[in-house]
Symmetry: C2
Subunit: 213 residues, 2 copies
């Protein structure tokens, strides 16, 4: 039997709720427009053997935002100051929102990152030297997805390639359907949506998602 | 007993499904940024007793897009070519998306149209004569809502002021929560969302919504 003590029940409940929330809710991040570049395209745009300059780590381990910025140009308009993400990839890929697609004047399909076969091309320019490449394909609107560790996938009872519904707790609550699960031991668990989706949710820093089906 | 005839069952099923769809699904429209002006502000911007020039009827009876365009200016950027909607209202109101709010550099609250007390102000300029007014308030991101006829409200078992969830069948399916029902005999039944929300849904012309709760 416990001696009489002043147990603060409220504090315990708060701690339990906080831990439950940590375990149940998924960090939700808005991805801005960005470019991934292949070695070949880096050579052309920035010079042979040029190394990208990391300035900020992203939530996914090993991924980083670079100092380098490019201009992407469609038939209607150009969008300037588009961040390059590293490390370099086997194929260049440009990710924009549907709002950006309208600005560029290109019909851009919604695809999972990496799935670029048959997608539209786009002009990419290094504004510092004026060099432009014409990517033959690789322009996509990123399909919403959750990066997940194998441990979290087990915990949430989901597997790689599965689609789930996620309720997002922003100022404008909604449920995103058809959110792809991507499981990899090198991932950190986080849902990635674009700025159109983030604005539709009224997402703010720290907004979380909950898998509901 | 029917004489033997060639009844096309498929055509009948199609007709039934089409009618059911008409009855169950709600027209979903994306509202672009726009401005409603008071008589006083029209007098200042366009001249005393100036009459707005209707160019296109909107889905809501009596509402129309005008030939007149204005520039709205925030601390960060201006947005040009913003359509004026008529008829004139008792108070001026500027409706933008959260994407636009970032462009303007103003934190804009999500409000139902008409609920502008305490909202930020904005500069509105007639680009043809350079006249600018500084609206003291009235800048909002429109809260998603369904205009509904009293007959449809009865049919859908909802009432004015109620919130519902709506599944939107676009390229990127999602469920919008917290959609306000507005019932008025002068309305035509249609859901209005902004371009951020429309892009998050992958909305295309003719996309429909279904009230699910």
């Amino acid at each position: 039997m416990l001696a009489e003590t002043n147990i603060n029940i409220d504090a315990i409940v708060d701690a339990v709720l906080k831990e439950l929330k940590e375990q149940l809710f998924i960090l939700t991040e808005a991805s801005g427009r960005h470019v991934h570049l292949s070695r070949e395209d880096i050579n052309t745009l920035f010079g042979y053997d040029y190394q990208l300059t990391p300035v900020k780590d992203l939530s996914q381990p090993g991924q980083f935002a670079c100092e380098e910025r490019v201009t992407i140009t469609g038939p209607k308009n150009a969008i300037h100051n588009v961040v390059v993400l590293g490390p370099e990839r086997s194929k260049s890929q440009v990710e924009v929102s549907l709002t950006d697609a309208l600005t560029l004047g290109i019909k851009v399909p919604v695809r999972l990152s990496g799935d670029i076969k048959g997608t539209p091309g786009i002009k990419i320019t290094n504004p510092k030297n004026g060099v432009t490449i014409e990517a033959k394909e690789g322009l996509i609107v990123a399909k919403r997805h959750i990066h997940m560790t194998p441990e979290d996938a087990k915990r949430f009872h989901v597997s790689n390639g599965e689609s789930v519904k996620v309720k997002v707790f922003g100022e404008r609550p909604l449920i995103l359907e058809d959110v792809d699960i991507r499981v990899d031991k090198n991932f950190s668990t986080a849902m990635h949506i674009d700025y159109d989706e983030a604005n539709a949710c009224g997402l703010t820093k720290g907004s979380k998602g909950l898998i509901i089906a």
